[in-house]
Point group: D2
Chain length 282, copies 4
């Protein structure tokens, strides 16, 4: 943020009392400090605050606070206006992978932000289209699978029109470096350093191969289903579109848009420990 922030948007899990309480507190705290506060309209009637309630897509504020876990962040990034305002991700006590601070540290961290004292981390996103229809950008991953769980699909994967993978599998994950520590990891993919700018492709339970592939960020990935099947495309685990039972085509490439996160410390590999190491370790 080049200028001191004057407006803030607040997004929170509306099914968690603690999240709603914290949204009220932070809203009051920032109003007192002179900021104009906007809240996602799903919070109307649940959060008692002076701010204005607007749809997520209209939160064109200087920055955004999300209150919740990684799921709340992924859901927000699917719908925020472009270019996305930077996000301060506050968790509810359980440290997620994308969240930055716990509820107790939120006010202290906001003081720093109001003084212009924050580092912005930009995360590249993926832009996908399915049978020609554009989907919202993905911060983590785009998954192409059968229409129901554990249904085999037959996929041919191309990188810049060169065939690279033939799959008989549950599906395939195309992930950013940010997404490499999520679903792609659980399917056997590598951890990608956050400073990389690449795309990783990981098969899900394939009978034909067990390999992940990493491509340059400017690669165009195309996934063709080579036998007619009901298919599903899933963006960041939240946005889903069903494809009819014919041979479908999904393309994925890097988006021009990015998501931005306000960071104070860089501790990627510290956060990662729990997903990397077996408990028995040292």
């Amino acid at each position: 943020m080049q200028n001191l922030p004057k407006t803030v948007g607040i997004i929170a899990r509306y099914d968690k009392k603690e999240a709603l309480t914290l949204a009220t507190e932070l809203s009051e705290y920032l109003t007192k400090r002179g900021l104009e506060v906007f809240l996602e309209n799903t919070l109307e009637g649940k959060v008692k605050a002076d701010g204005k309630f607007v749809p997520l897509k209209d939160l064109k504020t200087d920055f955004i606070i999300t209150i919740g876990g990684d799921g709340t962040i992924l859901r927000s990034c699917l719908s925020l206006p472009k270019p996305e305002p930077p996000i301060l991700a506050v968790n509810m006590g359980v440290r997620g992978f994308l969240t930055e601070v716990g509820p107790k540290d939120a006010c202290g961290v906001l003081d720093k932000i109001l003084k212009g004292n924050a580092h912005i981390e930009k995360c590249s996103k993926l832009k996908a289209s399915a049978n020609g229809e554009n989907l919202p950008d993905a911060l983590n991953d785009v998954v192409v699978s059968g229409g129901e769980p554990s249904k085999i699909v037959y996929l041919q994967v191309y990188k810049d029109d060169v065939p690279v993978l033939s799959l008989e599998a549950d599906g395939i994950i195309v992930a950013t470096q940010t997404g490499s520590t999520g679903y792609s990891l659980s399917a056997g993919g590598p951890v990608l350093d956050p400073k990389l700018d690449v795309i990783v492709v990981t098969p899900i339970c394939s009978l034909t191969t067990v390999r992940s592939m990493v491509f340059p960020a400017n690669s165009k990935i195309r996934i063709e289903s080579v036998r007619p099947k009901d298919m599903l495309v899933l963006v960041d685990g939240n946005y889903r579109i069903s494809l009819p039972s014919k041979c479908s085509s999904v393309t994925v490439e890097q988006s021009k848009e990015v998501s931005s996160f306000i960071r104070f410390k860089s501790e990627f590999y510290g956060r990662l420990q729990g997903r990397l190491f077996f408990k028995g370790t040292g």
Copy 2:
């Protein structure tokens, strides 16, 4: 088969012309040789034969011919009367994993069977129940997963009431030795020798572990979903039951029933090559 067969049941893929043609041919061939022929009633009007058309569950014949691939066998074994008649599995040219002979060798092999010259291989099955409701027995596997693809579920797995696995995963596969070369293999499970009598449990894309476990055949596997989620139970990839969004319980143990296959050669590891080795191999 202790006595020479007098009755035969015929099951075939009704969506493949070649399968229907072969069903007609084999039906005529066996009628001429004095056998009483019964056909699955889905073939009525599609197969021109003198036999009687009856539902799959009423095919109480001395043996059964299935015409199609592994999918046709799995579908048949879900519904055959108990004890299941032995199956001669005829493929349509593409050698499946469970099928025994190609269409050209079918008549020759039937001649041997009519002379009492056949080896019966018995394959153990799994008996499952979901929230107390009994499901049909599985020849290959019972899969417990989220209600939609790529949806994480939280599972606690018990063996004889001892907790053995905690999963945050797409789901879990409980497979017989027969099923070990199918879906369990594509999820990273081991190959189990057909002479073993065991149960293998393989997680699907788990964030918490990457290990398969093998248990004695008399083990009782219980899978509890520890957070309320829409769930799905899938038997042999064909029979599916949805579980409502509450904490569910699925038990799996060895069935008293078996499936029987008529075999002439034992070449398990020969069949397996294509699923074991990368193409580059010598």
Copy 3:
């Protein structure tokens, strides 16, 4: 143990002061209770005790106490007289996988044993021969690899003379169910329930396959190196034999001998947690 024990053998890590101190204490404790104490002769001069110092292979006592970690147990089982006396495995504070009690509980547990109050767990072992030469039995595993680290070898693996695996790999692990949680696990093999009686074969970094295989206990595994290479056979990570640079043959099958452990609680899956689950798990 059918009769109350009158003699005991003591084995301890001679490079750990705590182990030597405990060996002295337990020796005195058991002498006072009227047992005849024998100590492994490597402890002579290091353990001050009234017992007799004899070679490991002559410890024909009613039971054995090992003081140390899993390595001490594996080393002992390679050389104990046959049939092996049952082992009470005492660790040095760090709970190993095979050890049973910590140093503080040792005396209490010995009191139970002296009253005849102990459960014996029998663990099957593997009998191997390399180019016709017999090797000591393995409690965990027999590894066949190149003579130096990261050197590719070309192996053909047979089960009862049927070819089952062709490997271009660092090597191969043949393990018991006991060994399935050791090196085989780290190479990607499944966990085998301790009540199983099977053999698992796991490739090490193979370019040709990624699959483990599980075989019945009465299987005869034969590993042929199909190109002349310097080879190494390693029994339980301790006993090693180099094979000359020609095409070698190693056979592995279940031994008639077993190792016996004195157990008080059965908590296999509890011990296993640290090797199964990533730290991040709930």
Copy 4:
């Protein structure tokens, strides 16, 4: 090559008759076309040619021909003078991963090169040092392992002084994108597109983790052994250095040097098929 070549170096497997015959033929062919031919001095007395026999490190020619497989290329790249002359890699009939043409096409391809008609592909290399001692650059990978096969080592891995991996393992592989399809792949690592400029780190049979990590090309990887053990460092599977039984430190980073290959077609993913797909595939 900016200018037409006037000198050529020839390297060949001296233990293969076909390689020696081809070296003679190509030597004569190029001498007739006016090039000055130099041969690696290990070929002296084995190849009948007019050229000069010099040590590999003195082959400062306009380009190099290697006759053999990937092993011959890796061995050559360890010792060629810097900057390395571009290599035309001729195989002996079996298509390797790095080789470009078969013996029958060699003369045709040389005609193109003599006309200046060739594409040079530059491959980045890794520069390693062990306990302060510099090792030759690696085209594929640097492996740090125990001094003997299947010996566990305890490693702490740092990226730019940040701890990223704690391993109890057979060892670790640090590979270039070129090496990602070799040993790293067989240990479970991802395939890296040849247009990437990254470093991949893959554990070998680790009890503590199963994850590969991909880092930017400018990362400095440091591997500390945290318990004193006999260690081995292996560069491209050929150059090996033993480290004494103390806590050792190995650093790996991208080299300023590159290896250059003369290419006519780009078919990376075509070559890769055999290492990616199981035989059963379509």
